[in-house]
Symmetry: C2
Subunit: 204 residues, 2 copies
């Protein structure tokens, strides 16, 4: 084992770098061209490797895309939490969240990928299982966030936070899907609906 400082990249390190680079490139391509529209060969070549590199780092296309989505989810969750942790009142936080939604749904390549990949779950029990896991965690985390934010504002939810989370997530997913078809769709419907729901489902 060379303890040499300049060329000390161990084999595991190099593989990790390869994997990371593949995910990075795959992310760009999946977002740009969609899941079906992106071939593993394109990803590999764009990353400077051959298809063999993909298969020695991932079990296949599905696992690669799952890794890509995980990196995206991490960032998105961060963004939402940041919006709802902004040091203002409830209205300010909702404004921040609405702005985030508007940005994400405005150029909906992300939601389109998300929905397209969910469709492959139909053919792949593994994908289905993994997505259900993530989906449930997301619902639970959202519910918790809603609970906290509503409590912070001194309000009380008349419906379960869980149901509210499901409703808002559904709305976002559906709106993202519609928006990825029709660029003229007005995305602010999300914020308006959210406010209407809040109005009719909370009490002091």
């Amino acid at each position: 084992m060379s303890v040499d400082s300049e060329r000390s990249t161990t084999r595991a390190e190099r593989q990790a770098q390869t994997r990371e680079r593949l995910v990075e490139v795959a992310r760009d391509l999946f977002l740009a061209d969609g899941y079906a529209g992106t071939s593993l060969d394109k990803v590999a070549v764009a990353a400077g490797f051959s298809k063999g590199a993909v298969y020695s780092n991932f079990s296949g296309k599905e696992e690669l895309c799952m890794a890509v989505l995980d990196t995206i989810h991490e960032e998105q969750i961060e963004g939402v939490v940041a919006a709802f942790t902004a040091d203002t009142d409830l209205d300010g936080r909702i404004d921040a969240f609405a702005a985030w939604v508007r940005e994400k749904l405005g150029k909906p390549r992300w939601t389109a990928l998300e929905v397209e990949f969910a469709a492959v779950a139909r053919q792949s029990p593994w994908v289905a299982g993994e997505l259900v896991k993530r989906h449930r965690m997301l619902v639970a985390a959202s519910a918790e966030l809603i609970d906290r934010v509503v409590a912070d504002a001194g309000l009380r939810l008349d419906i379960s936070a869980h149901k509210a989370a499901v409703a808002l997530l559904s709305l976002g997913i559906g709106l993202g899907a519609m928006r990825s078809l029709d660029a003229d769709l007005d995305v602010d419907v999300f914020a308006e609906t959210m406010r209407a729901l809040l109005r009719s489902s909370t009490s002091a």
Copy 2:
């Protein structure tokens, strides 16, 4: 031209029958196995034809699926209109609609197909264009229905019927997508959300 009454199937008639049979079979297969999971060869053979028959009746897989979706849409619209035309008060109509939604989202093979096919629009300008046309018509028709139903009930909408239509459609699409992943998801969230929206967006 034989005016014979017993074997008078003209060529055009036979082709129409072939086309109809293909759509019929394709509908079952697409709903059961999804768009990607259904090969044209399977469809053709299951219908008692060869792939050539498909291509001489449709430009390709996309057009076939579009034809399938059109037959489905026709039925679904019929169902929704029936629910909202039921001869009761607003609550009764909403109950009928909620029941319809529960049934359709309960076994969400239809919504799953819808969403999966929407994803192929990303790779196909033709599909994108056709879906946008249908989508806009659907939103317009929904808005009109909402307007009529709310007026029938002697209420007034505080938001535009168009936005309400977009919100409800999004909610349905998103919930259908989520439900097709997670069978444990509570579909009644739709009805509850709809009622909450109605409550907070109407005045006498």
